[in-house]
């Protein structure tokens, strides 16, 4: 079984996670830039984060046999901090990079005018750079947030089939599906979906445009939830091919819209003890 986790924050995860993910079948992932938990105070720390997603983290992933691509953006929460917003001016030179397969994650947090501006500007940046966009839907006031998101996408030059609406659930899936966007489900304890509810949605909406991710980060989360969904799909009667479509071919198709997805590791993974990362550094 091959698994592509289309939304996971490996920066917050350990090498044990990489190893367990590999053992569970994960061979590729996309890491969106995000809020680090501690608020940033300047654009410079975004740039260090972006550099990490284009340098250290892909290196770390490759050592565990996993290809790493990223999505870059000003996240919705920090779009509200005027000290952070100037990072939008730096984004174009980053969005030109190999390894960047989407603008993201963008979207709404508290549904503010500043978030309207950042979302619209970054959908435009995605179109300018030939990239799709990973757009998450807010945790609070989700349905209103989804509708406002869909409106902003419609007003943008980015076609809906180049947008992945993420963190969807039972209350938002129908309108999201009607929008023509790709549909993302984060299987994340307590606050988002679980594998059984995700399978129920797959039964109702089909496997055609649905992506499943762990969204694992610094919170109580689990990078192996993608595999849990695959297993639950098989138990529920889906075929191996269905599983491959949802857990591999759909993310490949979506991020492949960038023309920058390279799923062959350039060097074989170094899985033995010769490496300082695996050994715990200096």
């Amino acid at each position: 079984m091959r698994i592509f986790d289309p939304h996971i924050h490996m920066t917050s995860r350990t090498t044990d996670d990489y190893r367990a993910m590999y053992d569970a079948g994960v061979r590729a992932l996309v890491e969106p830039s995000f809020w680090l938990g501690q608020p940033r105070t300047s654009p410079a720390t975004f740039l260090d984060h972006f550099d990490s997603l284009l340098g250290w983290e892909p290196f770390r992933a490759a050592q565990h046999g996993i290809t790493h691509h990223c999505a870059l953006a000003l996240n919705p929460k920090e779009a509200n901090d005027p000290r952070c917003v100037p990072v939008l001016d730096e984004l174009p030179r980053y969005l030109a990079k190999d390894g960047v397969v989407a603008v993201g994650e963008i979207g709404y947090d508290s549904l503010t005018p500043a978030e309207d501006t950042a979302l619209a500007a970054q959908l435009q940046l995605a179109a300018d750079h030939g990239l799709p966009a990973l757009v998450h839907t807010p945790h609070r006031d989700k349905l209103t947030g989804l509708r406002r998101t869909i409106d902003v996408v419609r007003e943008s030059v980015l076609p809906p089939d180049r947008v992945l609406l993420d963190h969807l659930n039972e209350t938002t899936v129908k309108e999201a599906a009607d929008s023509g966007a790709w549909l993302g489900f984060s299987v994340y304890p307590d606050t988002k979906m679980d594998e059984h509810r995700t399978v129920a949605i797959l039964k109702e909406y089909g496997t055609g445009r649905i992506l499943v991710n762990s969204a694992a980060d610094w919170g109580r989360s689990d990078p192996l939830r993608t595999r849990a969904v695959a297993d639950a799909m098989l138990v529920a009667g889906f075929t191996d091919d269905d599983v491959d479509q949802v857990l591999w071919r759909n993310p490949v198709a979506f991020y492949g819209l960038s023309g920058r997805l390279h799923l062959d590791l350039p060097t074989p993974p170094d899985l033995h003890e010769g490496n300082s990362v695996l050994r715990g550094g200096e």
Binding site: D51, L54, G55, W56, P58, F59, R93, A96, K97, D98, G99, G259, R260, H262, D264, P266, T267, D270, G274, N275, S276, V277, G281, E282
Partner: protein, 184 residues
Amino acid sequence: MLTEPTRAWLDSALGEAATGTPAWEPYFVAAGRHCGPAHADEARTRLLRAAGAGPDTLARLYHHGTAAERRAVLLALPALVPGPEALPLVEDALRTHDTTLIAAALGPYAATHLPAHAWRHALLKCLFTGVPVTAVAGLAERAAGDTELARMLIDHAAERTAAGRPLPDGLSRVLALTTPAEES
């Protein structure tokens, strides 16, 4: 082998680079997706040489670059920078733990210009991170007669042995190089 469309892309990129205007830099950035990861280093270093990129341009491209772009800058240094002014880039790469950057930093440019203390630490770092010492340019020449390097290697070996760990590949080979060659 480059495919035909890739070769055409690279030819036009090299043509831009030869004009001496910055219009070639986006080609440098995008070389990975056009040439494939396996050919990106070669494409980028050729672009840097075609453009005759000087220390200031190289430093900017390095600091604005992904790991792959940084690696290409490091690989191009011996052909493009005769003096030591690009050493800060080598030192930056040697501070990382990305073995592809460490290996690229220890080419002929470092062999010529890196001061002894930094060079010895770089060599030890290779042993530590699993970069094969065969990747280090000028290894035999610089190691020859370096008693301080020999001491560091012996101390490192003692530390490994005390911990019950095997010696890293290459340690005894470099240690042998530090002693003046009596027999071959």
